[in-house]
Symmetry: C2
Subunit: 216 residues, 2 copies
DNA sequence: GTCTATAGAGTGATAGAC
DNA sequence: GTCTATCACTCTATAGAC
């Protein structure tokens, strides 16, 4: 919209500073949780003065968003890995990459939830990030639904975009429950939810029926 | 476990103070969001000194949990209202009570998410509350699934408890998406997700099929 | 463009008075 | 059991120096 708001060029020093701060912040979040993160400690770990850091990141929230963006890379890797399983034609859909979630993803899930809670406010730094993140993942999910519909393992009557959003919701919601009760079998719950939302049970039944009819 | 930790008796004054503080806190949350809540303002509205309030609620988080508990009454009313619709035998499951959500529930949803993000820590005041809340709602959901299975509008092969947890996840997850993008049709999305998770499409197909068979 | 000094507001822990 | 006084700490807005 406004060409002056889009930075024409980022100086090397700024980029360096920014990534150092983001890295330090993510380290702290993974160690002690986002709540224990103080601007003072981030600055100390990033070897920068606290007030200097505040030039690059006006508020603590901006720092948290930067940390979240960093953590997101792994998160995205998990999701895409899952899609490759689907593309392989595995209808039972066990997402093996998700089994690795139990490591230190609690911290990032917490951070994700905390930021989501603030994202209503369009002024909040997390708003733009989360909206973009959401749309991107939903786009990928939508493609997956279409592929499955083409393969006959998802109900073709369903609206791919709507299903994608429901999958995204199930994914966030189940992570949330797992946060409150880590004994929840997240992988199994996600698989079952995804299959149900894609209309897989119905398609499977229809397929079995046609096979049965062909037999007799 | 330890009988000394469970208060034998709560004095009337304490209860009065507590509810006044909770009410004041919820008012502020609904007006400006949980982020803008300061202990000073809560104390002022509750007509109590800030430090006196800190005796009853050791931290700001304790106050937020009390506010959440208050808000929960409405939330629960919505959910039970929905169940009555189901019990009425309406298989299409439009939860009319949920259509009223768009009012000031954004604020409580935000608060709910923010507290959920902290709930991993068993020491956090939100932990016990959220765990109990979750279990209670899931219990109700489970009953609903069983009822629907008995009526033949839910797949009897599904584990009611697991389905209930998936419904709960869908419910939280969709609220979260709606928070980021309020243009989402929450009611429709919830209906469709719930139906899919209960295996309704499959049951409906089977029923239509038997009707068709009986015809010919 | 990058950074510093300073100052004000919010939180919460402690010791001790009614 | 209820409440107060006080203090240390964290966050961030502002003005201005390199």
């Amino acid at each position: 919209m406004d060409s002056t708001t889009a930075p024409r060029k980022r100086y090397a020093k700024t980029l360096e500073r920014r990534s150092a701060v983001a890295r330090a912040a993510l380290d702290i979040v993974l160690e002690k949780g986002h709540r224990a993160l103080t601007t003072a400690e981030v600055a100390a770990r990033a070897s920068i003065s606290e007030t200097a850091m505040l030039y690059h990141f006006p508020t603590r929230d901006h720092i948290l968003v930067a940390a979240m963006e960093l953590a997101d890379e792994d998160y995205r890797a998990i999701l895409t890995a899952e899609f490759h399983v689907i593309d392989g034609g595995n209808a039972d859909w066990p997402p093996p990459a998700m089994a690795h979630l139990t490591l230190d993803d609690q911290a990032t899930t917490r951070l994700f939830l905390a930021l989501s809670a603030e994202a209503v406010n369009p002024e909040h730094p997390a708003h733009a990030y989360l909206k973009a993140h959401h749309e991107q993942v939903i786009l990928e999910f939508t493609e997956g639904v279409k592929r499955r519909q083409a393969k006959g393992i998802a109900d073709p009557k369903l609206d791919p975009d709507r299903v994608a959003r429901q999958m995204m919701a199930a994914w966030s919601g189940l992570r949330m429950q797992w946060l409150i009760d880590p004994s929840l079998d997240l992988t199994a719950a996600v698989s079952q939810s995804f299959l149900a939302l894609n209309g897989y049970p119905l398609m499977k039944f229809k397929q079995e029926m046609t096979e049965f009819m062909a037999q007799s």
